[in-house]
């Protein structure tokens, strides 16, 4: 009875990783356990000696953070998943907009608010800010933001009609019937939404590598698609 491979993963990966993990355990007979939390939290825990074998971050920044400090096993890091950033509105809203330079997002939002993850801290928020700036929409909506501490909270604000619109991942928008996607941000408007994975430098688990490899299996790829993630070759 050996210890499971401990994967520390961003909370937004829970659904899909739970499924992939279960598949791997059935296939290989080995064990894996997940600890989901904010990428920032996990990164700091690994820095403080958490017994993690694999780290899956929701953005590149926290992976870089660990990498630069030597907590990542060289050569194991790779970008596994991608996601798409979308603009959502409450499902009963009839308005539409095309996201391009000089689009009038500000009047689209009107007197309401634009719900986003924290633009400095939450990955989805960071991407959103980047995209809005690239499209020259940032100054128009800067004062209308409602920043929350997770994509899910932003989604909820839109679903409950508190916010007039919100910027979330396509994966999240897909799961909430009370919202609808009115536009997708052009891929070039922001750094690609990337979920990097890697084995930690401190890991001594012999199955860490094999789990990392399994994340690229056909079976896993099918799960990613089912949950709306883009698989990055």
């Amino acid at each position: 009875q050996s210890d499971p491979v401990l994967v520390m993963a961003a909370a937004s990966l829970k659904n899909v990783f739970d499924q992939v993990g279960a598949d791997w355990m059935t296939e290989s007979g080995k064990k894996v356990a997940f600890s989901y939390a904010a990428s920032s939290t996990l990164a700091k825990q690994i820095e403080q000696g958490a017994p993690a074998d694999v780290f899956a971050s929701a953005d590149l920044a926290w992976m870089d953070y660990l990498d630069q400090r030597g907590f990542i096993r060289t050569g194991t890091r790779n970008n596994l998943l991608g996601n798409v950033l979308v603009l959502i509105v409450p499902a009963d809203t009839a308005k539409s907009i095309t996201l391009a330079k000089d689009a009038d997002l500000s009047s689209f939002i009107g007197g309401g608010r634009l719900a986003v993850g924290n633009v400095n801290a939450v990955p989805a928020g960071k991407y959103a800010k980047q995209a809005l700036q690239a499209l020259d929409l940032w100054t128009g909506v800067e004062d209308k933001l409602a920043q929350v501490d997770s994509v899910r909270a932003a989604l909820a604000l839109v679903a409950r009609g508190e916010a007039a619109a919100g910027i979330v991942y396509a994966t999240d928008a897909k799961s909430e019937p009370l919202v609808k996607v009115v536009a997708t941000f052009p891929a070039e408007s922001h750094v690609p939404v990337t979920y990097p994975v890697a084995v930690t430098a401190a890991s001594s688990h012999r199955d860490a590598g094999s789990f990392l490899a399994y994340l690229r299996s056909k079976m896993a790829q099918r799960a990613y698609a089912a949950h709306g993630f883009t698989y990055l070759e």
Partner: protein, 235 residues
């Protein structure tokens, strides 16, 4: 103070707002806290256990969940929220009042418990004495029970105030994190901890928070001490 610690304007705003929200949350919830504490301590009515449980709920649930529940209930489209907005024009969403409400709800179990503890230790024979002197129950409550429960009221208030300073999970979920409106010190600290390299900023704000809390504690101690001295309970 802001000079010494050289806070950014954004931080100063957050500190001011935090103080306003914490004070408002405490003051506004105090009458309800006292009423709830009294009801649970003294009356036996059907649903008493339920009320007692409900009061404790914000303590038991993760703050984010409490924030979600507030959103469901008191948001624009929430059952109660819509009613309040339509009939009284009271809107909580994205307002500092909403932040105060969230803080008040989170601090409520602490406030009620402290007050209740004090009410339960009031000698009921003194209330009886007040009755025989002609004081109707309400007068007895205000003239005897409440003053004698004063230590609990102070402790309940300080707990509520401190909790309001520290609260962010429910607040950010309910009313977001809008600078000048709902962005409290705690939210700012949290945000800082989520950014690589934000630790220094977080530390500075934690210091501010701590100083405020110490000051509040000090005031509450002085108030208490004075009250106790009047009763000659301290030498």
């Amino acid at each position: 103070m802001s000079d010494v610690l050289s806070l950014s304007p954004e931080e100063v705003t957050a500190v001011r707002l935090s103080l306003r929200i914490a004070a408002m949350a405490t003051i506004a919830s105090l009458p309800f806290g006292i009423a709830a504490a009294y009801a649970v301590a003294r009356w036996r009515f059907p649903g008493r256990g339920l009320l007692d449980g409900l009061i404790h709920l914000p303590l038991v649930l993760p703050p984010v969940v409490t924030g979600f529940l507030l959103l469901l209930l008191l948001g624009r489209k929430g059952v109660l929220g819509a009613f309040l907005a339509d009939h009284f024009g009271i809107v909580f969403s994205f307002r500092w009042t909403g932040a105060a409400l969230a803080a008040a709800v989170m601090g409520f179990p602490l406030m009620v418990r402290a007050i209740r503890l004090s009410i339960e230790s009031v000698d009921r024979r003194l209330e009886a004495a007040s009755g025989t002197l002609g004081a109707p129950p309400l007068a007895t409550f205000f003239l005897i029970t409440l003053p004698l429960a004063f230590p609990g009221i102070v402790v309940g208030s300080i707990l509520s105030f401190a909790k309001a300073l520290g609260e962010f999970g429910a607040t950010i979920t309910f009313v977001s994190n809008i600078p000048g409106e709902t962005q409290t010190i705690s939210a700012l600290i949290y945000t800082n901890t989520q950014v690589p390299g934000g630790d220094a900023g977080a530390m500075r704000l934690m210091l501010v928070s701590t100083v405020i809390a110490f000051a509040a504690l000090l005031v509450s101690e002085l108030v208490q001490r004075r009250a106790r001295r009047r009763l000659s309970l301290v030498p």
